[in-house]
Structures are given as structure tokens and as C-alpha cells.
Symmetry: C2
Subunit: 336 residues, 2 copies
């Protein structure tokens, strides 16, 4: 039986959203066991007793890591936090994957320092799947901020892992891999990106060259490799712009008189089309690639829906034995 | 009389859009002379003879720098191109500012190598004014790609110039300056950004700390300082996301049946509200800050409207004697 360790206390809607998500997905994944870590009383209030069985277990913990906590210090000091105890379950082989909606930095630290990186991987990288204009399967971008400082070899390894993920988990045949850069030409960028370009070109990846920020969400590339700093800026700029635009549109629709409000009702289908096209939830959470088990994060403000999809995503990662594959492929490499 | 040298051959709609923009703005700026550089015949066809007078001059040139041209090589080889001849006019004091819609790299090269950087400025930086959710005056971001490689001192100088611009040209009192970084906390980022943070904090700027990609377009900061690589990624990600979303919304409105189309008509006011709120044209073009004259670029696909606004922006930069101010403030600094 596959076993997923779930931090039930992370995120704005914890533990309710997490419990709801687990209850929603449970019957679809009969070969998977969900282990919830968190406040026993709070969880019991929300979880009908008859739901606790072979497929659903609760491990009581007494502490919670908050968004304000300094990540590395938090995982050292809050030994009995839901996140840390869950991570230790994975480390000790009592669970196969770790899922949290909590403090991203702390979760990365749990992945890197408790669960540990795969031998041969220099630096784990954080990889979400984002929606794209011309592809229902979206695209992967890695690293979006696990590393403030990157080297060309890291970028190559991230691209290799993400390409494999795109193939196995998203079903993209021969994924097109691009490098996020400040121009399209081969020689663009600083030394880091020029070197990364060379490594990607020499690799056996399906490398299609540089991609610029404005092409990210078109779906031109299935996998975008980037240094962790720029990747973080790109991801947040995209999220921020789309949030600002959609809020402003909503404001405009509500503040332009009655006929506009009628119009807003009439375009409901179109808006829900748009929503489903750019629905980030359906692709699951962001995966910390390069550690000894799937470590997956979704937005802290998620409700049960993204949690449902992320649990299915984790289950698929376990089915496809992604980590074993990485261990095999990278363990023979020299350590950097 | 102020004199603006205008590359009439750059951009998709050249020379028509440029001539139209000049004719539109001319009467509002009676103390300014517009010098158009480009193909004599093409310009004459579009420009009524009686318009050529003290306020409007045409300087015939025989070559054009294309978007495909390698910038530095192009400005060396195409000596009689509209852009290079215009730049030389500025260098020789026959014009006070340079404006083009053409090849951005070539225009930056004209600014840096022909017009020359201001003594005391280590590296000129490219600075657009972008629309913001909570401010009609938008915000400035610098550098968005003139430099692939940045140093902390460059970022400080860019912030200083942009802050002065925000005050004098955009009328923002005590502009709030932020550093684009991968997190909000003081110690975020790589060495470059940690060092830049310190320099900004020690400066006499109104520094409000780090800003993340998702906060850029909220208007939280009046001036965003960034290394040129990340700034380029952020700018293009924002542009790309907004273009993809607006196109997708349009598609959805057209492909969801008759009632949706009726709805689309009814929300026209709301959409035009939104358009005017996020209208990039009204803020003018991107300024190469740190060279001996205003060098300004607008989008290659611009029609007369952005050109009109950019010419007014350039005129204001000349009125406010921005360059003299920079020369005075930076010339006493040690060269890096």
C-alpha cells in the first residue's frame, strides 16, 4: 500500500480543507493510505470516526509551524510539529511522500534536511505545473525559488528531472525543454545562462533553446528550466498580474451601472471557460524535485479541490516510481 | 528651442505612425522642434509640405536598422541609418533627445556608445513606467534588460535616477523605492541582492525594502530597482500574462453562443475602463537612464497614440533638465 504523510495543520483552511480533500479522494485511490498529522482534537471534530480505518490514520502532534517562522530554525525547534513529524515518517520509511500547505521554506527544509537529497543531485529544485494557453497539460517550470543562487549544472539536472516528470506524470511525449533567458538568441544572458544553454544543448533532452518571459504561458515549451531567483520572479509576476487583472475586471463589471451587471451575468459561461482554462488546481502542487521522496506543496489558501488534485498527483508520482528512476539515473554521477 | 531627434523608420508602422504622432503633438509643444530621420520619399508622401517649418525638419537617411540586426554591429556598419544619424545629431548637440521605435539593442548601443554615459554612472539602465492597480501614475522599474550582469552599485544608481524621475516627471512626492527580490525579508536573495539591499538602506532614498514579483503591479512601490536580468524576466512575464489573459477572455466571449456575445456588448464600458486603467501608452516610453541625453524607446508595434504620449514625456524630461541634474549629482562620484 502506498502511504502519503499529510501535514493537516498547514494553510489558511487547516485542518478542514485538508480533511475534506482526503475524504473526497479516498475512494478513488483504494490502494493508498492517508496519514494525517496534527491536533488530535481538531481533527476528530471534523473527521467522522467511521472514516478512520486501514486507509486513513491520524497521528497526533502538538505543534504547528506558522508562515512567520524562520524555516530552518522552525524545523529544528518544533520537533513535534505536524510537518516535522510527517517528514520523519517519510525519512523512516513509514510513509512514501510528504504533502503540506504550510510554510514553503520549512517544507523545503524538511525535504532537504530530513528526507534528504538524492545522491548525485547537487540541489533539489521546486517545480509547479502552470496552465498554458495552447496546451491543456500546462508546463513545468523549475526552479521557482528553492535556490537563491544557481549553477549551470543545477539547471541541467532540474531540466532532466522535469522532463522525465512531464513525460511520465503529464503524458507529454518528448517534452520540449527551454531555458528562461533575457532574449531568444543563443548567446543571450549572463555567464550562468550561457553555460546552462551549452549544457542543455549538449544533453539528450529535447532542447528548443531560450524562452523569454512573455512566452512562458503560451505553452511553447513543456518544461522551462530557470535559475531559482529568476524563476521565483517569473512565477510571482505571472501570478500577480493575473490576480490584479481578474480583480480589476471584476471591479469594473460591478461599478459600471446596471447594464454592465446584466452583461456580466450573460458572460458567465465565458468566464467559467476562462477559469477552467487557467485553473492552476487541476495540475496539483509544486514538487520539490531531487529529494528521496515526493515532497509536494500547494497554496496555503487552497480549499479541498486543489488538495484533491494534489493527492492524485502524488499518487501518480508513486505509481510511476519517479524517485527510484531519479535515484538510478543520478546516483552514478560524480557529486559536485 | 528644444530639439527631439526622431528615428522615423523604426517599428512596424513606420514611418506613418511616427509622422502621425508628431503631427498630433506639434501644436501642444510650440517650443519644440521635431527632427525626423528617414527615407525622404516615404516621409514626403505622408507629410504635407506645408507642415515642414521651423518646428518640423526632415533629415534624409538611406539605411534602416532592422529588428534582426545584431545591435553593436548594426550601429557600426549602418552609418547612414535613421537611428545612427539621429544619435549623431544628439552627440553633436544638434538635438537634445533621441526617440526610436526600432531595434531596442541598437538603440541602447546608440545611447551608450554614441551619445555616451554620464560621468559617474557605472552602467545606464532601461526604465519603463508601468501601470499599477492602486495608482494612476504607475510605477518605474529599472533595469529591465540593458544589462545582463548587474552589480549592487549599479542597482543603487538606477534607483537614485528613477526616484528623481518619479518625483520630477511623474509628480510623486518622496517616491517609495523597493528592491525586486525573491522574498520580503531583509536577508532574502543572493549576494547581489543582499548587497544591493544594504546600499539602498544606507542611501537617502525612501527605501521600503524588498518587493516580490506578485506585488509589482499593485502600486506598492513607486520605483522598483532590479538587476537587469530579473527585471527583464519580470517585465516580459507581466506583459505576456496580461496579453494571454486578455486574448483568452476575448476568445471565450466570442465562442460561447449568442447570449455571451450580447453580454460582451453590455460590458463594453467596463472593458474600456480596464483598458484605460492598464493603458501602458499614457506613461510614455522606456528611458535609457544614465546617458548624456534622453534616449527613449516605445513598442515597435505602437500607433500614433503611444508616440504622442512619448513625445510629451521627452519634452517634459527636457523641461525638467533631468540630464543636467544627473550630471551634477553623479559627476563627483568615483568611477567604478
Amino acid at each position: 500500500m502506498k502511504k502519503i504523510a499529510i501535514d493537516a495543520m498547514g494553510g489558511e483552511n487547516a485542518p478542514k480543507a485538508i480533511i475534506d480533500g482526503v475524504l473526497k479522494v479516498k475512494s478513488e485511490l483504494p490502494d493508498t493510505r492517508f496519514i494525517l498529522f496534527g491536533d488530535k482534537e481538531e481533527i476528530r471534530k471534523l473527521l467522522p470516526k467511521d472514516q478512520i480505518n486501514d486507509q486513513l490514520e491520524v497521528v497526533p502532534t502538538t505543534e504547528v509551524i506558522n508562515d512567520e517562522d524562520e524555516p530552518v530554525r522552525a524545523i529544528r525547534r518544533k520537533k513535534d510539529s505536524s510537518m516535522v513529524v510527517a517528514a520523519n515518517y517519510v525519512k523512516e520509511g513509514k510513509a512514501d511522500a510528504l504533502f503540506s500547505l504550510g510554510n514553503t521554506g520549512a517544507l523545503l527544509a524538511c525535504g532537504i534536511f530530513i528526507i534528504g537529497r538524492i545522491k548525485g543531485i547537487a540541489r533539489p529544485g521546486l517545480m509547479p505545473t502552470l496552465p498554458a494557453q495552447n496546451s491543456d497539460r500546462g508546463y513545468n517550470i523549475i526552479d521557482v525559488g528553492a535556490n537563491a543562487k544557481s549553477k549551470p549544472e543545477y539547471i541541467l539536472e532540474w531540466a532532466q528531472m522535469a522532463s522525465y516528470y512531464a513525460k511520465k506524470i503529464r503524458g507529454v511525449e518528448n517534452p520540449k525543454v527551454a531555458l528562461l533567458n533575457n532574449g531568444a538568441e543563443d548567446d543571450k544572458g549572463d555567464e550562468l545562462h550561457q553555460e546552462a544553454y551549452k549544457l542543455l544543448k549538449e544533453s539528450d533532452l529535447n532542447f528548443i533553446g531560450n524562452i523569454e518571459g512573455n512566452e512562458l504561458m503560451t505553452g511553447k515549451a513543456d518544461v522551462v528550466a530557470t535559475d531559482g531567483f529568476s524563476g521565483n520572479i517569473a512565477l510571482k509576476s505571472i501570478e500577480g498580474m493575473s490576480s490584479v487583472l481578474l480583480h480589476s475586471l471584476k471591479d469594473s463589471l460591478l461599478n459600471n451601472g446596471l447594464m454592465t451587471k446584466v452583461g456580466a451575468l450573460l458572460i458567465k459561461n465565458a468566464v467559467s471557460d476562462l477559469r477552467s482554462k487557467y485553473d492552476t488546481a487541476k495540475h496539483g502542487g509544486a514538487v520539490l524535485m531531487g529529494v528521496n521522496a515526493p515532497v509536494v506543496k500547494t497554496h496555503g489558501r487552497s480549499n479541498e479541490r486543489p488538495i484533491y488534485y494534489t493527492l492524485k498527483q502524488i499518487d501518480k508520482i508513486l505509481d510511476e516510481k519517479l524517485i527510484d528512476e531519479f535515484k538510478q539515473n543520478f546516483s552514478n554521477k560524480k557529486e559536485n
